[in-house]
Amino acid sequence: MRIRAFDYKRPSSLNEALSLLSDYGEKAKIFAGGTDLLVLMKKKLVQPHVVVDLSALAELRFIEERKDGLHIGPMATLSDLLVFPNLEKEYGILKQAISEIGSWQVRNRATLGGNLCNASPAADSAPPLLVLEANLRLKSSISERVVEISSFFRGPRTTLLSPDEMLVEIIVPHPPSPNYGKYLKFSRRRKVDLAVVGVVLLLFPQGVDGSIKEARIALGGVAPTPIHAQKAERILSGKVLERSLFPYVAQACLEDSACISDLRASKEYREEIIQVLIQRGLSQILASMG
């Protein structure tokens, strides 16, 4: 599979990278791990004039636990994240989602930043980061801004990044504790496949009686972007978690979704799977609440 020729740039500083983006704009594509971009380039769906390879920017490959939450650099690989000591305990749903992405080989190269900026509607890291209310720091050579992840995705493969902008940090606040979370993914192949449907549930208990103070639910693969299932969330908030609610929550998720038929699944199958995964996730959470 031949890749069309391009100009290759390997900046040795973030400023140099940003300056290249401001010079080349839409003609340039950022190369992080390359596990999405190279596939697109091989299929000729993306043909940049200039590739800006970030591999020399070691300063972008950080994962730090700070007072306000987890700070993740855009070049941190998925494997880097999976071995980070506190990820399971505090950000379990993110860890569950990341371990579902690709294969060991892919995770050794793929970056969290890339997964977000590639903005597949089925991106596994997106639903957990949506419910964890992550913030994204975007930078250009003349500006810097922090946006909520809920505004980041604009459509399939489209984000609110302007052509001269780059993601430089992902900030994940500490979720209130205690909490119960699950990420479930349905795909045709168990590994190395895009999610047909991805579902995340994050519930915050009220007290010890099993009632839910707040429910956060997000879905991937069921709309042009990853989405919050707000109707479903409202059904659970303030209620005691019990089985009789599950079908209503599942049905409400359908109302928030806009499934389509594509090569992976039909609309009807996706709608069926949403309901299965939601109920399965709620069951598992109910069981773990003891």
Binding site: I3, F31, G34, L38, S55, G102, S103, W104, Q105, V192
Partner: protein, 156 residues
């Protein structure tokens, strides 16, 4: 325009001038002449192109050659030492884990990396590790046995 690439493959240093659109797989096979690593699907789904980059398995078809600048690469040719096969390779032969052989280099590289980090993997851990390597011939059972046998051989 070609760019300078400095890379170590199986312990040997190479200095090459490569085009940006050449993948690591391309240069291993065509510039350096190591044909053991295979091009299966070309887009990171089959694992036939698996090599180790700084000890970690990666799909060489999805790595630009220039991204490997300054890194250490191990290919299947680097697993045997002086013509003597690694115990893991012996195990693959012994357990009948090789039919057509096309997936084998990638499968061995992934297994080799697994055993380096986890000398006593469970069957589940093995399945998880090789889930990025497809085999159309064997049905995987002999491959899994080979990795278990290989893990025991490597410890003796």
């Amino acid at each position: 325009m070609k760019h300078f690439l400095q890379i170590k493959v199986n312990g040997d240093p190479y200095e090459l001038f490569v085009k940006p659109n050449w993948t690591l797989l391309d240069i291993l096979r065509d510039e350096i002449g190591l044909k053991g690593t295979k091009n299966g699907c070309g887009h990171g789904e089959c694992g036939a192109c698996t090599v180790l980059m700084d000890g970690k398995p990666v799909n060489s078809c999805l790595t630009l050659a220039l991204q490997a600048h300054g890194r250490k690469i191990t290919t299947i040719e680097g697993i045997s030492k002086g013509g003597i096969l690694d115990p893991l390779q012996h195990a693959f032969i012994q357990e009948g884990a090789i039919q057509c052989g096309f997936c084998t280099p990638g499968m061995v590289m992934t297994a080799y990396a697994l055993l380096k980090g986890n000398p006593h993997p469970t069957e589940e851990e093995i399945k998880e590790a090789i889930s990025g390597n497809l085999c159309r011939c064997t049905g995987y059972t002999n491959i899994i046995s080979a990795i278990i046998t290989g893990s025991k051989k490597r410890l003796t």
